[in-house]
Amino acid sequence: MILRHSQPSPVRRRLGAAHSPPRRKLGGKLARTVALITVFLGLAVVCHSARRVADQTGRSVEIPERAERLISLAPSITETLFALGLGDQLVGDTDYCEYPPEARLKPHVGPVLNPSLERIVALKPDLVLGSREANRIETADQLERLGIPVYGVTAQTVDEMLSSIEDLGNVLGREAEARRLVRELRERIDRVERRVANRPKPKVLFVVWYRPLTAAGPRSFVADVVRRAGGVSISDDLSGEWPRMSLEEALRRNPDVILFPRAESFAPSPEDLTTLPGWRNFNAVKHHRLYFVSDTIIRPSPRLVDALEEVASFLHPELDFSGREKSR
């Protein structure tokens, strides 16, 4: 599929064929070659064609001054690139990149965890963008070895998501767009935080998976979003990103609200869940406060703010957060 995309057009191929025989006649071509090289070197110096920077994960990356062909290795990055107006420069993304809808039409390089190196190479990217949370470091190492620069971002909180947007904007020459986007997002975040400021804080359990009961750890988007939405996550004292919690302990802490990711992979309905042994005793179940939250809550993209507004409306149904249309 990719090669269909990147294959030299018949015209180019014919051009290539026409060009190759003269190359063998060395003689006077040598002077021209030298001249060409000189010109290119000169251009390179003038344009300052690449710069070496440290990416967000601390790796040193050589970035082309004008990256025209980008590949995103994470859905969050794909979303951010489109939000920064870089959709046209995106020449490839992962099988999981589904938002915005245009992202589905891009050539896919495979899954997030083990993308096809071959397909990435075949798409001839100037720069590949990866995420420390989503990708494997082995992928970045291998691409670097093949001479393809990989710029890594990392974000585990709402603030870090915002700064990774600014960072991508700086690296990709979209500083103004990034600043504008971040300002808008910040305004929406502030609005939510102002509204919930003096409200009682419900106890919240975010169930990443229910068998075994897996909650959100303190350093995750979920915990940050719940906090900003005016709730208290009951799993904030556990360690790890996605700690397991015994059902007994969850019942003892008795959350007022239980949230689930609204993902296709999360099959059970609220009815299924309330019939699980023990679950009837949760306050949240008794008062029918089980909600499915957009799965953008675990995705460091601009839509994380949509999830924040959604969670705030679940935690504080009496308040109005309809400042902006929800994503779903």
Binding site: R4, L117, E138
Partner: protein, 334 residues
């Protein structure tokens, strides 16, 4: 013995299998996540492609991977062959004896303490393989001799204990590290670097050649330790050397490619069906056969769900279990 192990026969056999391996390797180069025409693959392989990507894909992505599959396949199959003869038990292989689990645990502990699976761990994995080997060997010795069934059972129990230890360490690792390890544990040839090959080529070749020098001893050991001792074999020394060499081959293979099952168990069986059980022919057959089987398996792993990839360990297990059952019933019937 189906093929007499005269020098000429062995050479012919090796040449024929090597030719098969070369053909399989070339075919494997033509497949992958990116769609390249055969002409592009050939041009890319010779570095004459008009598109530099084709050359990068064929020479820097596919070729090292095919070479790695050959080395790992040969190492595991030869290791299995030697262990089956050593223990006079057709069920013996690096996995059953816990050697692979030991190597895997070593690599994962290295990751836990610091470092990455891809870089620092081959040495530690080999250490894990060797430590497991020593432990199982210690348990399996009775009165200075290897007790075949004791050793086998000790290996099985040690392997399951080590698997539990691996699970324990996995729960201690951060999500990010687990992702890398999970792939590697299932058997994965996708992370291959030149430095891997630079270590693997000499170690695997030297290990196989060294084991070949024990081919006659392996033949004699098949008769039983008593008989071997009567025939003038220094049983204790020969057994130790063979066991260590088999561990070395397994250790380096697992360190680079993770847990690839069934190869060390089945390729020796298939080899015996074709050439009989004279190790002077069986060892080279297993080496080249293992290489061929793993190259084919990895090509399937790379292409079945492209652009995604399956772990090659899943392919060998899915294909290996039915073959094993077939062999089992065949043997039971005869």
């Amino acid at each position: 013995m189906k093929i007499a192990a005269t020098g000429r026969n062995v050479v012919t056999l090796v040449l024929v299998l090597a030719a098969c391996l070369a053909v399989v390797g070339l075919v494997a180069l033509a497949f992958g996540g990116a769609h390249l025409s055969l002409r592009e693959v050939w041009a890319g392989l010779r570095g004459e492609s008009s598109a530099p990507e084709a050359s990068v894909i064929v020479r820097q992505i596919r070729l090292p991977r095919v070479l790695l599959a050959m080395l790992v396949g040969a190492a595991l199959a030869v290791s299995g062959t030697a262990l089956q003869a050593l223990l006079r038990n057709p069920l013996a292989d690096p996995y059953v004896l816990g050697i692979s689990s030991g190597a895997a645990l070593g690599a994962i502990v290295a990751l836990w303490v610091g470092g990455r699976v891809a870089t620092a761990s081959p040495l530690v994995a080999f250490g894990g393989a060797l430590a497991t080997t020593a432990w199982v060997y210690f348990l399996g010795r009775r009165a200075g001799r290897l007790a075949s069934y004791t050793l086998l059972l000790a290996g099985v129990v040690t392997a399951s204990f080590l698997s539990a230890a691996i699970l324990f360490v996995l729960t201690m690792l951060s999500t990010r590290d687990v992702r890398g390890v999970a792939f590697w544990l299932m058997g994965d040839l996708s992370v291959v670097t030149e430095s891997h090959l630079r270590v693997l080529v000499p170690v695997v070749v030297a290990g196989i050649v060294a084991l070949y020098f024990f081919a006659k001893d392996l033949n004699v050991l098949l008769l039983g330790e008593e008989e071997a001792a009567h025939l003038g074999v220094n049983v204790a020394w020969v057994e130790t050397a063979i066991y260590l060499l088999a561990s070395l081959l397994t250790g380096v293979a697992v360190a680079v490619s993770g847990a690839i099952g069934y190869l060390g168990l089945l390729v020796p069986h298939l080899g015996r069906m074709v050439v009989g059980s004279d190790h002077r022919t069986l060892l080279p057959t297993a080496a080249l056969g293992g290489a061929i089987v793993l190259v084919i398996s990895d090509t399937l792993a790379r292409t079945i769900v492209a652009p995604a990839e399956l772990p090659v360990g899943a392919v060998t297990a899915v294909a290996g279990a039915p073959v094993f059952i077939y062999l089992l019933r065949r043997t039971a019937g005869s």
